[in-house]
Amino acid sequence: MSFPWEAIDGGAGGLARRDEMKPDGRRLTLYRLGSGEAVREDRDGTGASDETDAGRERHP
C-alpha cells in the first residue's frame, strides 16, 4: 500500500505528514520538515532527513 506525503503547513517549506495504518489497525503518522520538493524527492519513502530537504530553511 502506498502512503502519500501531504504538506500541511502551506507554502514552500513547512511540515509534511504521511498517515499509515499499522497491521492492528492503529494510525501512525510520520512527520518531516519540508513540503514540495522534499516530499516529492522522498525516494526511499522513509521520511528520513536528507540534504535536499527544502523545508530546512523555514526552521533555522
Binding site: I8, D9, G14, L15, R17, K22, D24, R26, R27, L28, T29, L30, Y31, R32, L33, T46, G47, A48, S49, R56, H59, P60
Partner: protein
Amino acid sequence: MTERRYDPTTGEWVTFATHRQSRTYKPPADFCPLCPTRPGAAETEIPHPSFEVVSFDNRFPSFGGHAPPPSIGGTDLYPVEPASGRCEVVVYSDDHDTTFAELSAERIRMLVDVWVDRWQALGAQDDIGYVMPFENKGEVVGTTLSHPHGQIYGYPEVPPRPLRELRAAQAHLGRTGRCVECDVVAAEMADGRRLVDTDAGWVAWVPFWARFPYEVHIAPRRHRPSLGHLEEPDRAALARVLQTVARSYDALWGFSLPYVMAFHQRPTNDDEAWDPVSHLHVEFSPPNRSADQLKYLAGSELEGGAFVTDVAPEDAAARLREARDRVGPGLR
C-alpha cells in the same frame, strides 16, 4: 476492562484501563518499542529505519475511539460509560539517548507544528472535548519508556483541573472584564522577580502560587486560546522558550531533571464560547525540591487538595535564571 466510572461524591470521572497493567515496562534499549526498526531486527512501533517525528495511537490506551461497553452495569448513583477518547504517542526523535532539552531548536519548532496538527485532528472529533499534549519525563514521574517522547490525550470532556481553571477564569472575567491569564502575565512582567525567561511573544515564570518548588509556566503575552491559534512568529518563539526552560532545568543541578509538562488550552467542544477565558499555557511540574530530594504528594496534597511548597517562588526563579545564564547563548 476499559471504562469510566463516575464519583458522585466529587462529581468527577475515574477511568479504568486494566489492560495497561501489561504495557511495556522499562525495556532495555535493544528492545525499545519507540526506536526505529533496524534492518534485520524485530519490528518496533515504527516500521522505518529512521524518522524525524512520529505520532501513533497508543497500543495501551486509557481512552479509545472504539471503546468497548463497560464491564459492569451503571446506576443512577454510579453512572458508567465507555472510555471514549484518544491516546496518542509522539516520538520526538529516532535517537534513543536524547531528551527534549537536548533536541535542536529546529526539532522543537517542528514539534510545535506537530502538536498543532494533532490538536486540530483530535479536536475535530465529536467525541473529544479536550486535547492535552503532555510529557512525563523520568522514572520518578512514572515514565516506563526512556526514549524521548510525549503523549496526547483526547478526553471526552474537560478534565477536572483545566475545568477549575476555566471556571476561575470565568469568575475573573465576570468581575474584571479581563482574562485572568492575561492579567497574570502582565503582573509577572511588571514584577519581574519570578521571571525565568521572556521574549517579545512569550513569558516563562515561576507562579506566585507554585505548587511544585520549581514549577514553571509558559504563556503567550497576547491572548491565544489554543495551539491552533498560534501563527508565526508565535510558534518559533514558543519553541525557543520551551528549549530555554528545559535546558535551564538540566543546568539547575547538573542532571537531566524529571518533570511533567502539559499544555492547557481551550476545550474543543463549544469552542468559541471558551475563547475569552482560555489562554494557552504550558505547565512544567518537576518533582524535585532539591538535587536529591523529591516533593511527594502526601496527606495535605492528596487528601486535602492543599499544596504545601518548600521553596519560595522568587528564590526558585532566581536559581533558574542563574541556570539559564549558565546554559549560555545559542538558544535564540
